[in-house]
């Protein structure tokens, strides 16, 4: 099933800007890192050198490409939630519930169908994006588009009755223009801020919250000394470097 995001830019027929996504600094950094890696690879030779050379070549390619064309990405994620369509829609469309299940995003309600979404606050980097609900039909879909150029995105969430009384299929389709080059994108993915990860984990949390009543967690559980290796692995598995408990958002008693 293909979902277009046509519904999203309905207000004023807005299209994505022509601004290149990568800042000049990052493009230069990418090109520099690419040439350094490629050079080192050629100098070292052997298996390891070949791998390094290939990685450097890829970075060079990305750097050159990003000078000309902004990085545009697409995300498609769907999960089935075993609850009635209207119930899922009502819960998911209520902005008060968003902080309970959205992954890595802080939501600010600016009123009048406009919201501030920010990513990366805990790390001191702040990508804020103003989001506007552009179309909405109860039990059917919600579409949104971002208002400014820094972090452009638009998308739609659709709700569909699943076959065999299995609840509701929820589809999220989204297009975005990343305000970052390949290095920053890779770093963002490493800590779980990649757009695909944000959407997938948010939708998963919505499912878990609606079906099981809580989002499973291990944050705050006991463990032995992790050491450097254990801590590094925690970051790779996106569990955060330490195990301090985060305040749980829970549905119970709501």
């Amino acid at each position: 099933m293909t979902i277009t995001t046509n519904l999203a830019p309905k207000n004023g027929e807005r299209e994505f800007s022509q601004r290149p996504a990568t800042s000049t600094q990052e493009a230069i950094l990418t090109l520099a890192a690419g040439s350094a890696l490629a050079g080192l690879g050629i100098w070292r030779r052997g298996w390891f050198g070949t791998t390094m050379g290939a990685a450097g070549g890829y970075l060079l390619y990305c750097g050159v490409r990003d000078f000309h064309r902004p990085y545009q990405g697409r995300v498609r994620v769907s999960y089935t939630i075993s609850k009635d369509r209207q119930e899922v829609y009502d819960f998911a469309s209520n902005p008060q519930n968003w902080p309970k299940f959205m992954h890595a995003i802080q939501v600010k309600n600016n009123g009048d169908g406009k919201f501030g979404f920010s990513v990366g606050e805990p790390a001191g980097i702040d990508f804020e994006s103003n989001v506007e609900i552009t179309d909405q039909q109860s039990g059917e879909h919600i579409a949104w588009a971002s208002a400014e150029q820094m972090l452009e995105h638009r998308g739609v969430v659709r709700f569909k009755q699943a076959p065999g009384n299995r609840g509701t299929e929820v589809f999220v389709a989204l297009e975005y223009k990343a305000p970052a080059g390949p290095i920053a994108r890779a770093l963002a993915s490493l800590v779980g801020w990649g757009p695909e990860q944000v959407v997938r984990e948010s939708l998963r949390h919505l499912k878990q919250l609606m079906e099981a009543g809580e989002i499973p967690t291990t944050k705050g559980q006991p463990s032995g000394a992790r050491g450097i290796r254990g801590t590094a692995k925690r970051i790779i598995f996106r569990e955060g470097p330490s195990e301090q408990a985060v305040e749980q958002t829970r549905m119970a008693g709501d």
């Binding site: 299995r166 099981a212 499973p216 967690t217 291990t218 006991p222 032995g224 000394a225 254990g230 598995f237």
Partner: protein, 394 residues
């Protein structure tokens, strides 16, 4: 509290860690009275399961007393004596509602890793790597039990811990392995591996109507225990050709069902075994599928191949032509624990089986690091180790 922590390949140690606390409304905290070392813990010990982190608390077979419950826990009460299944299930999703408990959608906080590796994520497990959820395990003095109302099996007064402890994993696992063979009465079942799961599989196969059980291993005391359970035995190191032997013993038909209670670290003899060992050593494979190959060859036409043993990655040199040519049926996977615990508790209460027969070592938590080694190397006639986390070593 004291807890057994994984530190790296063949390196586990007892450490002082924080006590667990309620993190979610459906959690409960258990004071653990008995816990056991499982054969599948040895895969972690040997470093064959990816995504382990140094400091992880191990153990997925445990029972104890509830000392604290979260705000949404209704059924389980403080003071209850409970056995906890090794799989964590939410009880609300499609899979839980359809009795496929180990496929639960909603309990793995690291589901994305499994989705990358296997396409979809199954339920989380205790103390069994971060792709399986990264939950702290039960080889400790206390444990946190998420979704306590769904998981905890309440144990009535008057039954020993040792009789019900194995409802946490190996008894239901052996039982499901036999159940998967769809026995109707009069079958011949061949079981590879006479470790703890194998022992329960032998007894379950008889319970479910098998007429003969052939048990295959190489460790004398395990074969002896299998024979005590009513099985005929084969020591595969002593026969020329295991497949010929099985054909001979079954009147040329082959076993009606074959059960792999061994999994990824099979030993075996000959060229095939050497091939798998070298691949595993070079880190191009996690698994040594020796048993799987033998079963596919040995099983009768249209028979069932049931696999409770754990496999992790990509297997190779699998005789799929034999499986297709004979129309074999494959059943496998993590045990749907919650489906079998209550009926099996009933069987224990009725006196049909006393699961404590399998225990050979009763130790303290401090002795656990040595016990891992003893169990892995099958020294001291070790078959099953049970730990009392509160007893001090003599």
């Amino acid at each position: 509290m004291k807890a057994l922590c994984w530190q790296g390949k063949t390196n586990v140690s007892v450490e002082r860690v924080n006590d667990p606390s309620i993190l979610n409304p459906r959690d409960a905290i258990l004071r653990i009275t008995r816990t056991a070392i499982c054969g599948s813990d040895l895969h972690l010990y040997d470093g064959y399961i990816p995504t382990m982190e140094p400091g992880d608390v191990l153990g997925h077979e445990f029972m104890g007393q509830v000392i604290e419950t979260g705000s949404e826990v209704k059924k389980v009460k403080k003071g209850d004596r409970v056995v906890v299944p090794f799989t964590i299930s939410c009880g609300q999703c499609f899979y839980c509602k359809n009795q496929m408990w180990s496929a639960c959608d909603n309990t793995n906080p690291n589901a994305w890793i499994m989705e990358k590796m296997y396409g979809y994520s199954g339920s989380a497990l205790y103390g069994y790597s971060h792709m399986m959820g990264g939950y702290a395990g039960g080889q400790a003095q206390y444990a946190r039990v998420p979704f306590a109302d769904v998981g905890c099996l309440q144990i009535p007064e008057g039954i020993d811990d040792e009789k019900v402890l194995f409802l946490s994993d190996i008894f239901p696992t052996g039982y499901m392995a036999a159940k998967n063979c769809d026995l109707k009465g009069g079958e011949v079942v061949a079981i590879w591996g006479c470790g703890p799961v194998g022992q329960f599989t032998i007894r379950s196969a008889f319970m479910l109507g098998a007429e003969r059980v052939i048990a295959i291993d190489r460790i004398p005391e395990r074969l002896k225990m299998a024979r005590a359970g009513g099985a005929e035995i084969i020591n595969y190191e002593e026969v020329d050709n295991l497949l010929d032997e099985l054909k001979w013993m079954t009147g040329g038909r082959g076993p009606d069902a074959c059960i792999d209670a061994v999994g990824m670290e099979a030993h075996g003899v000959g060229i095939a075994a050497a091939y798998d060992y070298s691949k595993q050593r070079m880190k191009v494979a996690f698994d040594r599928p020796i048993v799987l190959r033998q079963m596919m060859q040995a099983c009768r036409k249209g028979g069932v191949v049931s696999i409770p043993g754990v496999y992790g990655g990509f297997l190779d040199k699998i005789p799929f032509g034999a499986a297709f040519g004979k129309g074999l049926i494959f059943k496998m996977g993590q045990t749907h624990m919650h489906k079998y615990m209550q009926p099996l508790l009933q069987r224990v209460q009725n006196g049909e089986i006393d699961p404590s027969f399998v225990i050979t070592h009763r130790l303290t938590l401090d002795e656990a690091p040595d016990a891992y080694k003893t169990f892995r190397d099958k020294q001291e006639q070790c078959i099953k180790v049970v730990l009392d986390p509160w007893r001090e070593a003599a």
